[in-house]
Assembly symmetry: C2
Homo-oligomer: 297 residues x 2
Amino acid sequence: MQVQVVEVGPRDGLQNEKEMIPTEGKIRLIERLVEAGLQRVEASSFVNPRWIPQLADAAEVCRALPQLPGVRYSALVPNLKGLERARECGLTEVAVFMSASETHNLKNINKTIAETFPVLRETTREALALGMRVRGYVSTVFGCPYEGEVSLDSSRRVTEELVAMGVYEVSIGDTIGVATPRQVHEVFAALVKDVTTERLAGHFHDTRGTGLANVAAALEEGIRTFDSSIGGLGGCPYAPGAAGNISTEDLVYLLHGMGYQTGIDLVKLTEAGAYMQELLGRPLPSKVLQAALAQKG
Amino acid sequence: MQVQVVEVGPRDGLQNEKEMIPTEGKIRLIERLVEAGLQRVEASSFVNPRWIPQLADAAEVCRALPQLPGVRYSALVPNLKGLERARECGLTEVAVFMSASETHNLKNINKTIAETFPVLRETTREALALGMRVRGYVSTVFGCPYEGEVSLDSSRRVTEELVAMGVYEVSIGDTIGVATPRQVHEVFAALVKDVTTERLAGHFHDTRGTGLANVAAALEEGIRTFDSSIGGLGGCPYAPGAAGNISTEDLVYLLHGMGYQTGIDLVKLTEAGAYMQELLGRPLPSKVLQAALAQKG
């Protein structure tokens, strides 16, 4: 059985890194990722570079993406302006985003949830009119750094709204990495009442070590698309264990071990992780990467 | 529902650390662990200190263990001589060990599997005659560093033999951290044909990031006892991501999040982890520990 892996390291990973990575290095990384067999890569973000200076070179990166058959790139866009910038670089896919919790949405997007819907709706409508694909992200589904628990009703409502706008897939995010498998079962069991499993993806952060356990739970609920970050990029450089996204290497190891196919070559993937680690000049959190490097000696 | 956590950091964790920890520090650590609510601690090992110099102070550590109601300590013993040393320190519980794979058993114990049985049998018989409790470990159940795959038949046979000797519990070990949830389901589903779930424990290493996913799978198979190491002790100090045992903090976070009770105070537990990290002078792999330290700022 096939599982899709969506590499979000160049965006979700790097936007949380303190270091600035040279544009050339980002492009090399993406080349290595697609060489390893990744077919979906979120390459960058067209939010205002004032907020995320690490990704201020989004246009340069997106213009240089290696075009290969079967490989799809996307970038995060907050609104029509971001969409326009993404389109100018030749992207054919974008991702819109919002939160399931009111406070996180306000702090992150500076709008209430209700105010965010029309912005994402017009962005999605325009992208679809341009023949582009649109993905949706829902953040803080499993917990909010400001509110704590997030109601399932809110997550269901936001997910349904995004699907109604025309996004082909909604990535369900554990933004602060608090979920455990029981909650993952509950959340996806609730979401699939409204949306088919094919339109849902799991987006887990490994902040408390439960990332892969949550993937296994989501697999049991029929989810077959997962977001991850090469090397587990996005952790805090001053706390080696405090990881961001689950690591692509660890995710692929888990999936292959469980008999799922991904089309990804794990050896080449860890080489991409090793390259990224060298660029950053510090060990990355991926355990499979560290195990591979330790075996090399 | 109750889950038992067996803290093996002072033994399985420290025996894999390069640094030597002062005896006093080990005792302080164990004091903090039982203060946090841990009721089962593997305090040290009575194998020949030539092989594990890090635990050469086993007798001193075991003599100084804080005696508290409901708290049980044990130590690893390879044979009658080790048992005698453990008993002299006042221990009332020991653990015997062997591998499910022939080559690992030979390299680790210098005996074939068949030659090991009588040694463990006489050790267990003597311990029981002295009124002690005996636990059993089976290593390399999910994979052997020398042979690769390990047959389920061999794991079943070794497990059954240990139970027949009179051990009250067999800890089923993923010594090199290669397991994924599917295999965990298969292994425990096979083992419970011969042995009740109450007599089995899961012992996972997090070498490839799958540790907690494997715990979740074992929970689904009815396993309610897990071994773990404070801070995720036992990783290689030169490869921060290459962890040893699953971390006790991460395990307890997972269990509590899934609605299981452990009797452990997670805040005090992370304080014990922080103490250990300070003793070692390097960040430990536990994600919950790092997240807690990052929040403190």
